[in-house]
Amino acid sequence: MRYEVEVGGRTRQVALSRVGDAFAVTVDGREWRVDAARIDAQTLSLLVDSPWQNDTQAAANAATRRISWDVSIAPDLLGGLTVCVGATPVGVTLDSRRRRGRAADAGGTGPQRIVAPMPGKVVRVLVGPGDPVRARQPLVVVEAMKMENELRAARDGTVTEMHAREGTSVDAGALLVVIQ
């Protein structure tokens, strides 16, 4: 089985095949033997044999190290997955599923679509259409969980659309601002 997996802004080609009780896994041509135990619907225990590089000398050595990774996998709000490797969360997109919202912000081009990250109430709108904005400039203040939260621009640009109105309630994922 082959998958396209995007991690940290880079797409990797991952191929899996069963070898006995384990899997032979290649990531962009590098191959590992992985013993995967299913703990529950969201949790995997992986035992991954080194070498991590294509080191034929070490591969030939029977005493390769077997690294234990505890991994949990859950969908995130943006349509991707959050994979916790130990306690470290890693954002992952599988195949063509696009991460909504933040994926557009992370790159350097295209419009920024600022969406409400949680349901709440718009308490202040700080910019309007046509306003130039700088990276990290506050745009809209949304109140949720007893706190006022500033939503900021990811990078410089000009506000082209403003959908937030002061005093209105918004759902998670609602489009508030577009910046070109």
């Binding site: 997996v5 992986l46 859950a74 306690a87 969360p89 890693v90």
Partner: protein, 524 residues
């Protein structure tokens, strides 16, 4: 001091347990669970109340009885005095524990509980009212001979003209803070560095305080240079005994909210501890304080300390004091409410055994400006093992609602000294797996590696200052190995359970499964 609403002298020691046999907990989340645990250990029956969105919450499931008190918004449930009293009456509870937040520092609630013939597990309504007003609390501290932060003596009501405030401000000196008299949690508070900004700051503080607390009175206080926030836990009985505990260091704050607490403080010598704990007890005695409370001080670099305010309730960070003294503060709150005598060894309470640290785990996205991250917890694995205490109010499968404080758990670590406690906390953070929502766990993993934290060199604005310099970089950057493992895991998960994954990664998640189920049942 007011006498309790029953006589205790006619009873022997064993008969104290005749009082407060069933406690209604007027709170939710981790603190409700904490109080339920104390009740269970004392053979007291715990009663929960809950709002609409908390029907499945842990505190409801752990309690003996549970009563609905209204809609999810706090104003329609956890802040409704009448409904809480009605639930207490219906359950036959004879005591009410307010926890912290919500009605815990509302003297009208304490009075209403008392008027209903129930025992309020906390101080008297009078003590709550006096110490709840920042200006009244400051005069109480002055009367007890305890220094306060230089500032105005009395509240500046809405009718005080700007010119008069400007004159007062000039005598206090800049930089200064404009603070709401009824304030708390950083609301209704403004920093002013120059006279030109004063009038605007007073207006902003007044409007915020008016909206949040229904009282627009403010006062002016000098801003100290790089102070630490150090506080002293107290217990007081109804027989005039007030005992202070070893200090808690709470200088690690984000936007005036504590995020890490530890005890003892690296900045407090035994001599300074003696002075601070005596001062704290003196303030409490001056107002006839009973039950649990905390006196907050600002500590300057030269060792001078100033009374800041008193919290007339159990404090969020009480577990670390319990860990270094071995005293169960909630159990003592209940015993003191019954009228028992505080017979703890005073010297032992100010002699910490080892070191304890607490991290407040919030449902916030630290990599996205600490925005709230409510939602369903898909998977939860809590740390455990030696020296670790996780006071959690949630579980896998539960929602973190949008209506309340985003605190989901308090992770505390104890060890024989500070470096070992830090190492233990870092170990525990590495075990903490929470998926489905974002939490501040990665932020704490970062913070506990910072040299300033490790060396104990910090003050109340340290964290805000250092966060500004990071410009939003992620707190936990996965290693290349971890990225490879994440890619492998996502592919394996898809291969091992394609149906589940496709369903969950698409829009909807669990609700879609319910819909599918409902449709299937409808077709039968």
């Amino acid at each position: 001091m007011e006498s309790p609403n029953y006589s205790i002298t006619q009873f022997g020691e064993v008969q104290y347990s005749h009082f407060v046999k069933k406690i209604l907990i007027a709170n939710r989340g981790e603190i409700a669970v904490r109080i339920i645990r104390a009740c269970r250990e004392m053979g007291v029956s715990p009663v929960a109340v809950y709002s609409d969105c908390d029907r499945s919450a842990l505190h409801v499931r752990y309690a003996d009885e549970a009563y609905a008190i209204g809609a999810s918004a706090p104003r329609e449930s956890y802040l409704c005095i009448d409904r809480i009293i009605a639930a207490a009456r219906r359950s036959g509870a004879d005591g009410v524990h307010p926890g912290y937040g919500f009605l815990a520092e509302n003297h009208e609630f304490a009075s209403a509980v008392r008027d209903a013939g129930l025992i309020f597990i906390g101080p008297t309504p009078d003590a709550i009212q006096t110490m709840g007003s920042k200006t009244a609390a400051r005069s109480a501290a002055r009367r007890a001979g305890v220094p306060v932060v230089p500032g105005t003596e009395s509240a500046l009501g809405a009718d005080v003209p700007d010119a008069e405030i400007a004159a007062i401000a000039a005598s206090v000196g800049y930089p200064l803070l404009v603070k709401a008299v009824a304030g708390g949690g950083g609301k209704g508070m403004r920093t002013v560095t120059a006279p030109a900004d004063l009038a605007g700051a007073v207006r902003a503080a007044r409007s915020e305080a008016g909206a949040a607390f229904g009282d627009s009175a403010v006062y002016v206080e000098r801003q100290l240079v790089r102070p630490r926030h150090v506080e002293v836990q107290l217990l007081g009985d109804m027989h005039g005994t007030v005992l202070p505990f070893v200090e808690r260091e709470c200088s690690i704050q984000r936007r005036h909210q504590k995020v890490v607490e530890e005890t003892p403080s690296r900045a407090v010598s035994p001599a300074l501890r003696g002075a601070m704990t005596s001062a704290a007890a003196a303030v409490a005695r001056a107002v006839g304080y009973t039950n649990a409370g905390t006196i907050e001080f600002l500590l300057e670099e030269d060792g001078r300390f100033h009374f800041l305010e008193m919290n007339t309730r159990l404090q969020v960070e009480h577990p670390i004091t319990e860990m270094v003294t071995g005293v169960d503060l909630v159990r003592w709150q209940i015993r003191l409410a019954r009228g028992e005598r505080l017979d703890l060894d005073p010297a032992a309470l100010v002699t910490p055994r080892g070191h304890a640290i607490e991290c407040r785990i919030y449902a916030e996205d630290p990599d996205n400006n600490f925005l709230p991250s409510p939602g369903r917890i898909q998977h939860l694995r809590s740390p455990a093992g030696p020296g670790i205490r996780d006071d959690s109010g949630t579980a896998a499968g539960l929602d973190v609602p949008i209506f309340y404080d985003p605190l989901i758990s308090k992770l505390a670590a104890w060890a024989e000294d500070r470096p070992s406690a830090v190492a233990r906390m870092r170990r525990a953070l590495s075990e903490y797996v929470i998926s489905g929502i974002k939490t501040t766990v990665p932020f704490f993993s970062w913070l506990l590696g910072q040299p300033e934290f490790l060396e104990g060199r910090f003050h109340t604005t340290y964290l805000d200052d250092v966060l500004k310099t990071r410009k939003g970089r992620p707190f936990l950057e996965p290693s290349p190995d971890a990225e490879d493992v994440a890619a492998i895991a996502a592919a394996l998960q898809a291969a091992l359970s394609p149906g589940t994954l496709a369903q969950r990664a698409g829009a909807g998640g669990p609700p879609r499964r319910w819909r599918t189920q409902a449709r299937a049942e409808g077709l039968r």
